[in-house]
Amino acid sequence: MKTCFALSCLMLGTFGFSASLLLAEIDVRQAQSNRTEVVRQAAPAVVAIFSADGNGGGSGVLISPDGYALSNFHVTSACGNFMKCGLNDGVLYDAVIVGIDPTGDVALIKLLGRNDFPFAPLGDSDQVAAGDWTYAMGNPFLLATDFQPTVTFGMVSGVHRYQYPAGTFLEYTDCIQVDTSINPGNSGGPLFNSAGELIGINGRIAVEKRGRVNVGAGYAISINQIKHFMGQLRGGLVVDHATLGATVRSGTDRTVLIDSILESSNAYRRGLREDDEIISFAGRPIGSVNQFKNILGIYPQGWSVPLVYRREGKKEQIIVQLPALHRKSELLQPAGPKAPPQPKRPDGRGPKSPDDPHSAEASLPKDELLAEYKKLFVKKTGYANYYFNEQEQQRVLAGLKPFAGWQNAPAKWVLSGKTTDQDTFQIKLLPQALSAQFTKRAPGLQNLDGTDFLDEPPGSGGLLAALQQFKMLLTGGAAAFTEMSYLGNQPLDGQEVSVDVLVTRKSTVECRWYFRSSDGVLAGFDSSLGTDVDAAQIRFLDFQDVQGRYFPSRFAVQYGNTDYGTFEVTTVDISAANETAN
């Protein structure tokens, strides 16, 4: 009996061992088939990018069925406004530049000719952790002459990495570091997670030795950062990153303090001062200067984000609107297609020399661009491609449809009603002048004879000027302004709700109109009387039919740090200009 037991133990032991090998083998085979499956699904969305004459080269990835694709700015800037893009079906497509982010090294292009392009689903790069498996795909060394992407497989080495600008304004913030082999030509191509979701755009490698090949440290721009800029990129803009308008320094015990602050900055007006300690920024705790720069770098200019600071032991939260990092002219210079060497291409390919053995393989058949494609590029200063900005303007302006009844309405408007703090108001918007009368508040008067717009009524930030702008938008649309532009989307007032932003200018007044991204409804607008001053912030709370016309019946007005009031409109009298107002 004992022997029998021992024998069975031995047998079982042996069996257990071989079973484990079997299990390991199953595991390996499973992992392998998973990998092949991810590659099979992801590869069709990977783009090989060439300049129109077949030179240069890099990679990209499709993110929508109508052909929008992401790449690096340093790839597309060398390729011109129209480029050629190869997919793994072996077909070469025409593509046009849409929007660029020279600072973040991102470009959005649009492949043409189909509405059913394969595309990669966007992942959530904040969920990525060191140790996760990744796939880099693209066209390193231009090996894929049939546009079948090269696939490399590797691991995430670190997340939320900050890479200093390498002698240019090109700065990689909050990026993903991988040991996945990334080489020249991979630039602009996708980094996928193990589920085949797009988590980053490969862009830069450590090149401190061994020439321009992989040394185990590659960097991908996180897809979550790109998501912040996506609206602006789709709007054909040359997008800019943000600054705080203040410099920071390390304090003792891992604190970060405001070193100096511009008095003209929004942060200063919100109350931030020198030596204040930054506790958190955009919802993320701050423990080092590096960390702060890392987080700041992922936001576009003009966004409002929450900032918590401590002064003399007391914590305070403010919403700060972030100014642009660069002057417009700084970014515009390299955006022109005829200036390729402008930003140093950290890992990109140099221009091809004629004796490059690959140039023959890579050269593409020359063909003329279709006329219908040519109109997809409109040159305008400040834009990568103004055509797409116009498209986005039209899309967003559709949100004004409910207000259609105001088009060409008579020119005299008289709004009356009460405020929530038991004041009454009568606001007159006449062709020659604007006025506001209250029971309690100070009255306001604004002439429209060409004099400067002022803070009328006082303390409102120029509510009269703002309402005049609103009237112009409703009655005249885009044509009523000197300039209109689509500025992408952003969370309204640093909160959850995403809005599309249109900006308009008329004389010295600049307005930002906010349309809810989800349903296109006009959520409010900011009207500022100049640069570096606070805007009157008008937020629509309710709409009603007022004498047969759709109108914001309740709206809140905020100026700087103070609530000016919440207005409830009971009547809107409109009459033609030649009738006298009572």
């Binding site: 079982l12 996760d132 590797g154 691991m155 080495s157």
Partner: protein, 358 residues
């Protein structure tokens, strides 16, 4: 647990008796999770807090002012490579969570290319050297290091993955692979040995300690780079002796009879317990920065801030010349050093100890 095994291999399990099932369960549990398809996040989360970033002397071309190390005692002993980084008075040690400490060199062993630093802290997560494992070719490994100083903020160091390609002897030759370390190494199929990576740690996928990542090593003839890792078994005795304060360089170089096992090696200042100021300019004067406690130099009475003027009868005008002079010495030679201390010339004498390796 049973359920999960069933789901893995129910076809295998079912035919067996209950007793057998129990046994099989035990055997299966003992097998480490191969986890080919899984993320290494868990291992990385447990290993990263034991790896430190070191910032010290350097900054000139090819002399990086940053490096790596890892904690080998809860009291803050750190194992790293012996390099120019440690030439400064103290180095800055940054932990995984961003805490910053001043690190002091408590011992070095140039033939093994290792140094032990100490920071004033307690209760730190650390590796237990006695738990280090020996691995063979094909073992899947992770390398943790401050490579390229990527992790500059309050963030964990970089991690890369690879496979042990070979376990072999590093034949470090002048002109080919020039390295003071001359012993068993693991060769890794990943680019583990990058700028700043030396002193980093190599573990198995399960986080078991394997070895210390060596310096960058380039074959000057073929311009190829070697990614090698020194097994902990080669280093642990010395490390433990340094930490316990029992360390003298002689021990590792002699067999039981006190006879040198290895060919003589060029002498360095550290062999005498001398640390000079960082050699950063073309002719850095050979000032003594520190004298290691219990060393020959201390016994002879040398002090920090002494300027070394003569080794034997030869005038020493720079750190570089000091290295050359010391390199000429033979074991057992009488050594006379003349230093300038304040306004006086001081002469000290000692005997060159027995040493190892070329």
């Amino acid at each position: 647990m049973l359920a999960s095994i069933k789901s893995l291999s129910s076809a295998v399990v079912i035919p067996f008796l209950k007793r057998g099932l129990l046994l099989l369960t035990t055997v299966l549990l003992a097998i480490p999770n191969v986890g080919w398809s899984q993320s290494n996040s868990q291992t990385i989360t447990s290993v990263s807090p034991k790896v430190v970033k070191i910032f010290g002397a350097g900054g000139a071309k090819n002399l990086y002012a940053y490096g790596s190390g890892f904690l080998v005692s809860p009291q803050g002993h750190i194992l790293t490579v012996w390099s120019h980084l440690l030439d400064s008075d103290t180095v800055s040690v940054v932990l995984n969570d961003g805490r910053r400490f001043e690190g002091k060199v408590v011992g070095v062993e140039p033939p093994l290319d290792l140094a032990i630093l100490k920071i004033e802290a307690d209760g730190l997560p650390c590796f237990d050297l006695s738990q280090a494992t020996s691995v063979g070719p094909g073992t899947r490994v992770l390398g943790f290091s401050n490579a390229f100083k990527v992790a500059t903020g309050d963030e964990p160091v970089s991690v890369i993955h690879g496979v042990i390609a070979a376990r072999t002897t590093l034949t470090a030759r002048r002109g080919a692979f020039e390295s003071p370390y001359n012993g068993t190494v693991y060769i890794v199929d990943a680019v583990t040995n990058n700028a700043g990576a030396a002193g980093g740690v190599l573990t198995t996928r399960e986080g078991k300690l394997v070895g210390m990542i060596g310096k960058e090593l380039r074959n000057t003839q073929t311009n190829t780079w070697l990614n090698y890792v020194m097994p902990i078994s080669e280093l642990s005795d010395t490390v433990e002796q340094i930490i316990s304060g029992r360390f003298t360089t002689k021990k590792t170089d002699e067999d039981e009879d006190g006879v040198s096992k290895k060919k003589p090696r060029r002498y360095e200042a550290a062999d005498f317990g001398l640390i000079t100021i960082p050699d950063v300019v073309a002719r850095t004067p050979a000032y003594i920065d520190r004298v290691l406690p219990g060393s020959l130099a201390e016994i002879a009475g040398l002090q920090p801030n002494d300027l070394i003027l003569f080794v034997g009868n030869d005038l020493v005008q720079s750190c570089q010349m000091l290295r050359e002079e010391l390199g000429r010495l033979q074991s057992g030679d009488p050594l006379k050093i003349v230093v300038r201390r304040d306004d006086q010339l001081v002469t000290v004498g000692m005997t060159v100890p027995k040493k190892s390796v070329e």
